[in-house]
């Protein structure tokens, strides 16, 4: 924790005046009944100057949200401020009572929550939401309220017609904008954004972040942006605090964090951040396949190579060995190992369409997938990219036989998947398997790892008794969970997210499938664990010759482990081709927008 204490002194703030918010030796402890207390925030000190845009970055469990809740006086039991002071101006927030807190919300501090779009009252219009706030604080004259509400929604790039809408008539991004406008209506001096875009789609995320940045520049309020995404924070904030295990490990201007990170943890976070458009892309332990010689190098920024420090420390913990193994195994000169001889069956999707019945009579039906065709070669890896609602998960369900296509055919080798039912569908599980998105819900919380794997083996293979158990342990070793006996006896809650996802992958491998469909397998994982799981998937593909259909909205991971890519937009394939080529020279306008939505700190802070 070097450097922590040295960075806590008073800072120069813009204008040289006293800081707006000053946190001193703050500790927050969680004291649940009947469990051991946990200190989530440990002796944290920092200042925020008036008009500053501060970023707060950390992985899950780092205490960043707890800190955010504490400084807006929203900490609720079992969380308790154990010690330290939070000075807002010259008032100690921790000592305020409810009524003082309520009145100071106007012109004081406001918070925009992660799931903020779900905080609107579903039975009241947006206008009534504004009306409630104006009535509670009386800071706007009744005659001016209508005009003020219209102006506020305009500030967040919405038209005045949304005022007449109910929350359910608005999209998630629009609702998040409305909550930002509502927070703004109190003319706060300090706004805390807690993962304001995490629950939103990629493109919407990008647009909402743009709005937040523009607003902050115009209105000049002080902003604290809490996020797990270093890219987003570096792109927006003037100064960044890096948090780990309840402590601030680095506190420096964004450009310094980007170019001269001091703490090893910051460097580790940065090393997991890369631009998929770059010529060479690598994360610790995994390197993207080299693009085929595809003509002239495009006009891409060479600067983007900056953040991938190749010598950064790899992810620690049990994820490291597999990452190393993958790195060692990857035949660098040998190409990405596609078209391995002797591999199995080809997956052919031809003209597949899926429409869902309309939810109500006279409403339009939903066309989820519209005339999609592609081929997944044996041993190949194809990425299916698109934002939510693009039909990528529906496509996966049809390939696994869970849903039936409305039109078109899906063949695996010579078997048509569409008409399979009952026994035949169970047979299909031997060849087509799935890795689920959320490792926290994909494992039965009451079953040991051994049970989970044993059941899959007993159902899908002919192994019994000791041979079955041997194979079970072998699977654990394959996915890098050693010592295997120990992991076999564990329950899901005793494992980290990355380890759980490894168990999920092991289960999918039980029957030696020929096709694996991975539905956003790393989106729920912390950055530092992602590379390990991605490396594992790639390594497995190369060793077993299985083919991989990788569903994601994350272009970086697609670049790292796939050869070909399909970009889906509203159920249609808008672009398809070799992954590296599509990313470096996208042709479709939608692909270009997707690529531009990726945060690029280098754009802001220079090379």
């Amino acid at each position: 924790m070097t450097g922590t204490e040295t960075t806590t002194g008073p800072r120069d703030t813009p204008g040289g005046e006293a800081p707006l918010l000053s946190v001193r030796d703050l500790s927050v402890v969680y004291e649940p009944v009947g469990a051991t207390p946990t200190r989530a925030v440990k002796d944290v000190s920092f200042d925020v100057g008036r008009g500053e845009f501060l970023g707060l970055v950390g992985e899950s469990g780092s205490g960043k949200s707890t800190l955010g809740f504490a400084i807006t006086a929203l900490a609720r039991p079992p969380a308790r401020i154990e010690g330290g002071r939070i000075l807002f101006g010259d008032v100690d927030i921790a000592s305020m009572d409810h009524e003082q807190l309520r009145t100071q919300r106007q012109g004081g501090f406001a918070m925009v929550l992660q799931a903020g779009m779900n905080t609107l009252n579903p039975v009241r219009t947006i206008r009534q939401h504004f009306g409630d706030i104006f009535a509670a604080h009386r800071h706007v004259a009744p005659a001016r309220r209508e005009a003020r509400a219209a102006e506020l929604v305009r500030r967040v790039s919405l038209g005045p017609e949304v005022l007449d809408r109910y929350p359910f008539e608005l999209s998630g991004g629009m609702r998040q904008r409305v909550t930002i406008a509502l927070a703004l209506s109190l003319e706060p001096q300090l706004m805390v954004f807690d993962e304001p875009t995490t629950a939103l789609d990629v493109l919407v995320q990008h647009a909402v972040m743009d709005t937040i940045r523009a607003l902050q520049a115009e209105e000049g309020f002080t902003a604290i942006l809490i996020s797990h995404d270093l890219g987003v924070v570096l792109e927006s904030a003037h100064r960044v605090l890096v948090m780990r295990e309840g402590r601030i490990v680095e506190d420096a201007p964004s450009a310094d964090i980007l170019h001269r990170p001091q703490h090893e943890y910051t460097r580790m976070l940065l090393s997991h951040f890369a631009d998929p458009r770059a010529e060479h892309v690598s994360l610790p332990g995994i390197e993207a396949p080299e693009p085929a010689a595809d003509g002239p190098d495009g006009p891409d920024a060479p600067a983007a190579d900056g953040p991938d420090g190749p010598d950064a420390p790899a992810a620690d913990g049990p994820d490291a060995p597999a990452a190393d193994a993958a790195a060692a195994d990857a035949p660098a000169a040998d190409g990405p190992g596609r078209r391995r001889p002797g591999a199995g069956l080809e997956l052919r999707v031809e003209g597949v369409t899926k429409s869902f019945a309309p939810p109500r009579r006279r409403a339009a039906g939903v066309l989820a997938v519209d005339d999609v065709s592609f081929t997944l070669a044996p041993g190949g890896a194809t990425a299916l990219v698109g934002q939510s609602g693009s039909g990528k998960s529906t496509l996966a369900k049809m390939i696994t036989g869970v849903e039936k296509p409305t039109a078109g055919t899906i063949h695996l080798g010579s078997t048509s998947i569409g008409p399979l039912r009952g026994r035949a569908l169970r047979e299909l599980r031997r060849t087509v398997q799935m890795v689920f998105q959320d490792p926290y819900s994909a494992l039965n919380p009451l079953s040991t790892v051994e049970y989970t794997l044993t059941r899959a083996l007993a159902n899908l293979t002919d192994l019994r008794g000791p041979a079955l158990r041997r194979r079970m342990l072998e699977l654990l070793e394959t996915v890098g969970l050693t010592p295997v006996e120990q992991y076999a006896a564990k329950l899901p809650h005793q494992l980290s997210g990355g380890q759980r996802q490894r168990v999920v992958i092991a289960r999918a491998l039980a029957a030696d499938p020929q096709v694996i469909i991975a539905d956003e397998p790393v989106s729920m994982l912390d950055v530092s664990l992602r590379a390990g799981v991605l490396a594992l998937l790639r390594d497995l593909r190369e060793r077993t010759g299985m083919s991989l259909l990788y569903i994601t909205h994350d272009l970086l991971s697609a670049r790292l482990i796939t050869d070909d890519i399909l970009v889906l937009h509203e159920g249609r394939v808008v672009e398809q081709g070799p992954t590296a080529q599509v990313m470096r020279h996208p042709r479709d306008e939608y692909t270009i927008r997707l690529l531009e939505a990726i945060p690029d700190p280098a754009r802001v802070h220079g090379a």
Binding site: R76, R426, F436, D438, S441, L446, N459, P483
Partner: protein, 300 residues
């Protein structure tokens, strides 16, 4: 490859969960009181022949005696010892409570889980049947069935209560099953080649143990109250000794008019206490299924 350390194998997760659950209930203050009261009644019921001073059906004593050293709570109009009847009555109440509660819980688990898991026509059929049981008023149905099958003894009472009492539990379990069904681990079990019955009863069921336990104690409470009600109305076998029949005979002999309050008061209090103890235990079970309900865990 041999196991590096042969530590004693940990408890199977189901057992470990049960032990953890019991500990949580025990740490809950109200639930602990409930467990203690229930425990006392169980001891009373099991040891009744040894604890009770007289045989409950021995009517050789003076009639309608007031409380005395020989008969702490007095005697009935037929000349039986009230205290002995009270102690023996615990057996019937507990038997009916746990018997009928258990049977109706089993019915509601089987029907509720299958109902929540299946889609389409079978689900509609179950829906119709359950709704049928829900719209029929419980007490009149109980009275009709009990009258029809009168003098079948205690097993008929248990059957009647179980048949009329499972439908609500099934509804609750159905909605929880339907929500768990959408979780990835159920889909994953299907991908592991599991068949429906195993998914329902091995993957889904253990995840709602606390809900089922809560349903069981609720059903047992209802069964105890229903049994007392039926017996009080004279619809059961009035020759057995239970708290309900005690109330029935006390009412018949106008116990209040003769000043024998203990005849009505004592069995009534016991019924209330037993029902309360089960309800208190349910508070503790709520604490397991929903940690937010644990006492003191929130400051609001």
């Amino acid at each position: 490859m041999s196991a590096p350390e042969t530590a004693p194998r940990p408890l199977p997760p189901a057992l470990a969960g049960l032990r953890g659950g019991l500990r949580t209930i025990w740490t809950h203050r109200k639930a602990r009181i409930g467990l203690i009261v229930l425990g006392l009644f169980v001891v009373l019921a099991v040891l009744a022949p040894w604890i009770a001073p007289y045989d409950p059906k021995d009517n050789s004593f003076g009639r309608s005696l007031a409380g005395s050293a020989q008969h702490w709570l007095g005697t009935t109009a037929a000349g039986e010892d009230v205290l002995s009847q009270l102690i023996h009555g615990a057996r019937i109440s507990l038997l009916v409570g746990f018997g009928a509660g258990g049977i109706s819980t089993i019915i509601s688990v089987v029907i509720g889980l299958c109902w929540g898991y299946v889609r389409g026509l079978p689900g509609e059929v179950i829906n119709f049947v359950v709704n049928l049981f829900l719209v029929i008023p419980g007490l009149p149905l109980m009275i009709v069935v009990a009258t029809y099958l009168s003098d079948g003894g205690i097993s008929v009472i248990i059957a009647v209560i179980a048949i009329t009492g499972w439908a609500w539990g099934a509804r609750v379990l159905r909605s929880q099953t339907a929500s768990l069904r959408g979780r990835d681990f159920v889909e994953a079990a299907r991908f592991s080649g599991e068949r429906a019955p195993r998914i329902i009863f091995r993957e889904i069921l253990p995840n709602m143990t606390s809900l089922i336990a809560g349903g069981f104690f609720g059903a047992a409470t209802a069964a105890i109250l229903a049994e007392a009600g039926l017996e009080y109305l004279g619809l059961g076998d009035s020759t057995i000794v239970s708290w309900g029949t005690m109330l029935y005979w006390a009412q018949n002999s106008n116990a209040l008019l003769t000043g024998q309050w203990a005849l009505l008061f004592a069995p009534g209090l016991c019924i209330a206490l037993l029902a309360t103890s089960l309800t208190l235990i349910n508070f503790g079970i709520d604490g397991i299924s929903n940690p937010r309900l644990r006492e003191g865990s929130t400051g609001r």
